[in-house]
Structures are given as structure tokens and as C-alpha cells.
């Protein structure tokens, strides 16, 4: 309703200003300024709920609040210093790095190879089919997949230990999430399962943009599939690869939900990451 009236008002102002262009330049300016209304809601919303909290957070982080008196004293960066001397932070930092490394291997380079294999298939229907199948876990909520793998890793009812026993690897059977040495790897494995389809899809899109003639010409010249992969597909999706590495590493340092749902940082803080430790 409000928007409609505002539109009418501006339409009048704008139209009038146009007719008397030479003499009333001011009104044109006003009309231009009124155009800001198109972006106003977005600016208010983003400024208020996205930018302001982060500024506020930084201000709070440099102060020390006495919870009894509510007195706030300015301690500068001392809180940051205290943070760096906590031993669990080091475990968390190590886990984040591990997360980043493994994710780059599987979700960037693994996904790149997989996308190249899929896009090399001849029938478009099968290409679409495999892209969709691998993407399905990415479409599902992290709580569902987290709980699902919580059950899969369980020794009594889980799929993983049962599968290992069937394959004659009975000595590997263990409570994957209850073991300090395997918990973080189990979580990382789950997150690869969930995430690789998404990056595969993105790489597939990037590969589709490469002109087909390049491949045809290379085949004519006798280049095999591996040569084509290395000399055409890889260089021409390099931008995408770089972007994916950045996004994946950034994501690995912000990881929170996966750990929260599956172990909440346990056992004995062995699967803490920076996100859960802060929480």
C-alpha cells in the first residue's frame, strides 16, 4: 500500500521534472533520490541484521563485562590473547586444518575428476541422472544426515561396522564416534559424503561451458582421454577450481553444525573445532 502511494508520488514528481527539464534541475535530483526507495528495504534489512551485529560484536569483544555489576571495562585485545593460550584451541585449530585439507582433496579435486567423468558420458540423460544422484545428500538437512551417520557409526545397529564384519575386516569394528582417535575422521567422512555432490555439480556446469570443438580437435590430433583432461578441461576450469578451494577452506574453518549434531565436540574434546569451541 505504502509502496503504491510512494510510486504515485514519485511518478508525478518525476514526470513533472521531465517536462520542465532546463529550469527545474533540482526536481530531477529529487526524482533520482526517490529511486533509492527500490533498494531501501534491502539496505535497511542488511545493514540492521547483517552488518550491525558484527560491528557490535567487535565492540563487545574488546570489553570485559562484569556480570554482577554490569560494569563494562575496556580491556583492549587482552581477550584475544587469552584465547590463544587455551590448549583446546590448538586441538580445534588442528581439526579445522584437517577438515580443510581432506575437504580440498575430495570436494575439489575428487569432485573435479568425477565431474569430468560424468561429462564425458555420451548420453545426456545419464549425465543428468548421475549429477542428480550425487547431489541428493547436499539437498538434505544437516540434522538428518548428521543423525543418520550417528546411527551408521553405531556399533550395535550401524551399517558401517556390519559392512566391515561382512567383508572380513572384523578387527576394524569400533564405536567410530566414541573413539577419540576416529571421531573427527568420522565426522569429516560424513561431510565429504554430503558435500561432494554439490561441488561436482558446480564443476559439471563449468565443464559444460568449454566449447566442444576443442575436444574434437584434440581427439583428431590423437590426444587420449587423460591428455584432454589435463590439457583442456583442467586449465579451462582453473578459475572454478580456485574459487572452490577458497570456498571449501573457508567452509572448513566455519564448520559447526556437523560436529554439533554428531558429537558436540566429544569425546574428551577430541573432535572440537573452532566453531563448537566458541559455542
Amino acid at each position: 500500500m505504502m509502496v503504491a502511494t510512494a510510486e504515485k508520488v514519485s511518478a508525478v514528481a518525476y514526470g513533472a521534472a521531465r517536462r520542465r527539464w532546463a529550469s527545474k534541475k533540482v526536481r530531477v535530483r529529487l526524482g533520482n533520490l526517490l529511486s533509492l526507495r527500490w533498494a531501501a528495504i534491502a539496505l535497511i534489512l542488511v545493514g540492521w541484521f547483517v552488518y550491525y551485529p558484527i560491528v557490535d560484536n567487535f565492540i563487545v569483544s574488546t570489553t570485559d563485562e562484569d556480570i554482577y555489576t554490569g560494569e563494562v571495562t575496556n580491556v583492549g585485545l587482552a581477550n584475544y590473547d587469552r584465547l590463544l593460550h587455551d590448549p583446546i584451541v590448538l586441538v580445534a585449530l588442528f581439526n579445522n586444518c584437517l577438515y580443510a585439507l581432506i575437504s580440498v582433496v575430495f570436494q575439489v579435486f575428487g569432485a573435479f575428476l568425477l565431474a569430468a567423468i560424468i561429462e564425458d558420458l555420451r548420453s545426456e540423460r545419464w549425465r543428468r541422472f548421475w549429477r542428480a544422484v550425487y547431489f541428493v545428500p547436499s539437498a538434505i538437512s544437516i540434522t538428518v544426515t548428521g543423525l543418520l551417520f550417528y546411527f551408521i557409526y553405531q556399533p550395535q545397529i550401524g551399517l558401517l561396522d556390519a559392512a566391515l564384519a561382512r567383508l572380513g575386516l572384523g578387527q576394524l569394528v569400533q564405536p567410530w564416534l566414541g573413539n577419540e582417535h576416529t571421531a573427527i575422521y568420522a565426522i569429516i567422512a560424513m561431510s565429504q559424503w554430503q558435500g561432494f555432490g554439490y561441488t561436482t555439480l558446480l564443476f559439471a556446469i563449468a565443464i559444460q561451458k568449454i566449447p566442444r570443438d576443442l575436444y574434437d580437435a584434440a581427439t583428431m590430433d590423437g590426444a587420449g582421454a587423460l591428455r584432454r583432461l589435463w590439457n583442456i578441461t583442467f586449465p579451462l576450469t582453473r578459475e572454478m577450481t580456485g574459487l572452490m578451494v577458497i570456498v571449501t577452506v573457508a567452509g572448513a574453518f566455519q564448520v559447526f553444525n556437523e560436529v554439533m549434531v554428531m558429537t558436540a565436540g566429544g569425546p574428551n574434546n577430541s573432535s572440537q573445532v573452532l566453531g563448537t569451541w566458541l559455542y
Binding site: N32, L45, I118, L159
Partner: protein, 286 residues
């Protein structure tokens, strides 16, 4: 002589190609099984009873009865689904509409300081929501929105507007300007140009944006966990953890609830795959 040698080599190469191809196909199939089987297992476990779940995990359910699904639905899942649908639909509509307005202002009007507006709105893409959580709690408590679904609708909108604006703006920049210029010549106002011409032309990207937003909002966990606590305002992802806490030993019901919460989004993805992929390729192509 030479010809037979060449033919022999060709056959040799072909044999290798066939082997390589078979290996690749079996790799694709194995990976597909690894991806899909856990989900099928989850759905099957919703049909079993506790005794069967503790038996052979690979066994098929003995009876295909919907009892566990009905029980899960009546013990909370119905409420969570209602809230999830409400929050998802409302925030999707707000996000897309606000983003389309902003994109229109940025591409089709004489708005002053456009580069600054672009920088502010799209800069929101860089900021991580995790860092903002504590101040947001204080803010929403002060506004009286804490523990209501309005909190989620507003936050999902605010945090998704930058990305959605980015997508719609890129699309609008590529639209030909003749149509809206002609309409302006004929005396149409900016508002008319937006609603009658630009918005209908943007339909494909709008649908893509809606799909991407639905996927995000249906699955979002961090905000939903922090800003809601009562059962009547919790969305599905948070609700699932409450069900787990309440019915933790009744595994079949938990599995049924998980399946119910995963199914709609998988269906939406398969139905709208085309739009989804277009949204993604627009988003990364620029």
C-alpha cells in the same frame, strides 16, 4: 602387412578403452550406491521395529506398515512441518521480492550512488552468520521477536537478500532495454515498468532463486536452533534433535521422522532440477 598391424593396434586400443569404460561405469555405480544406500536404509528402518533394527542392518523390513511414520507425524513432526513450511514460504517470498526491487533499482533507475549500494548489499555475502549470533540474540530479544517464527523469517531474508540480489541483478543486466525504454516513452511509471515488464521477464531466474532459497531455509540449523526453543515455533531440523532427545530409544520413530523431513526437499530438488542448475550456473558464471 602394414594394414593388419594398424588394425591389430586399433583393436588393442579398443580393448583398453572398453576396460577403462567398464571400470569408470562400475566406479560411478559404486559411488551411487554409497550415496543412496544410507538414505534407503534410513527409510527402511522407519518400517522396522526395534528388534529388527538391532538384528541384521541389511535386512529388508519384515512388514511394510506405516505405524512408525504415523506415530512420528503425530508426535511433533506435524508441528515442525507446519512451522518449516510457513518460515520457508514467507522468507522465500520476502527475499525474492526485496531482491528483485533492489536489482531493478540498480539496473533500471537513476538511483544515486549505485556503486556504494552494490558494495553494501553484495558485501553482505562475505559476512558469516556465525559471528553475528550473540548480538542478534540481544537485538531480537529487545525487539520481542526472540522465540517467534518472525525471527527466522527476518533473519533468513536479511542473510539471503545479498546472494539473491546478486543473481537477479546479473540476469536483469543481460535483459534487452528496448522494451522498458519503449514503455517509459509511452508514459509508464517506474513501478509499472517493474511489475508489468521486468518482473515477468525475470521469471526463470526468480524461480531459480525461490528454489535455492527453499533449499536453504528448509535445512537451516544454526539460527533455527538458537532463536527458537518452544516446540510450536521450531523448524524441522531443530525439531528432529528434540525428537531424538525425547524418543531416543525408539529408533524406528526417529528414522521415520528423519525420512519425513528429508523427503519433501529431495522431491523439490528432482522436480525443479533444471531451475536449480540454472540458478547455480548464473551465480558462478559471472
Amino acid at each position: 602387412m602394414n594394414a593388419t598391424l594398424a588394425a591389430g593396434r586399433a583393436r588393442h586400443v579398443n580393448a583398453w578403452a572398453v576396460i577403462a569404460r567398464t571400470l569408470l561405469y562400475s566406479f560411478l555405480v559404486c559411488l551411487g550406491v554409497v550415496v543412496i544406500y544410507p538414505l534407503v536404509w534410513m527409510a527402511f528402518n522407519g518400517f522396522k521395529d526395534n528388534a529388527q533394527i538391532f538384528g541384521d542392518p541389511f535386512a529388508l523390513p519384515a512388514r511394510w506398515s506405516w505405524g512408525n511414520y504415523v506415530q512420528a507425524w503425530n508426535h511433533g513432526v506435524r508441528d515442525y512441518v507446519t512451522v518449516s513450511v510457513l518460515v520457508t514460504v514467507a522468507s522465500a517470498m520476502c527475499t525474492v521480492l526485496i531482491s528483485a526491487w533492489t536489482a531493478f533499482g540498480l539496473t533500471r533507475t537513476k538511483m544515486p550512488a549505485k556503486p556504494l549500494v552494490v558494495a553494501i548489499v553484495l558485501g553482505g555475502l562475505m559476512l558469516s552468520p556465525t559471528v553475528a549470533v550473540i548480538p542478534l540474540v540481544k537485538m531480537l530479544q529487545a525487539l520481542g521477536l526472540y522465540n517467534t517464527y518472525w525471527a527466522l523469517i527476518i533473519l533468513y531474508t536479511a542473510f539471503r537478500v545479498p546472494f539473491t540480489t546478486f543473481l537477479i541483478r546479473a540476469y536483469m543486466l543481460d535483459l534487452p532495454r528496448d522494451l522498458d525504454e519503449a514503455a517509459t516513452m509511452d508514459g509508464a511509471s517506474e513501478g509499472q515498468v517493474f511489475w508489468r515488464i521486468i518482473l515477468p521477464l525475470c521469471r526463470p531466474i526468480i524461480i531459480s532463486c525461490v528454489i535455492l532459497h527453499v533449499l536453504f531455509a528448509w535445512n537451516e540449523y544454526l539460527f533455527a536452533m538458537i532463536f527458537t526453543s518452544g516446540a510450536h515455533v521450531q523448524t524441522l531440523p531443530v525439531g528432529l534433535t528434540s525428537i531424538m532427545a525425547k524418543h531416543g530409544t525408539n529408533y524406528p520413530v526417529v528414522f521415520a521422522a528423519m525420512t519425513i523431513s528429508a523427503l519433501p526437499i529431495v522431491v523439490v530438488f528432482f522436480a525443479a532440477q533444471r531451475y536449480f542448475i540454472r540458478g547455480l550456473s548464473e551465480g558462478i558464471g559471472k
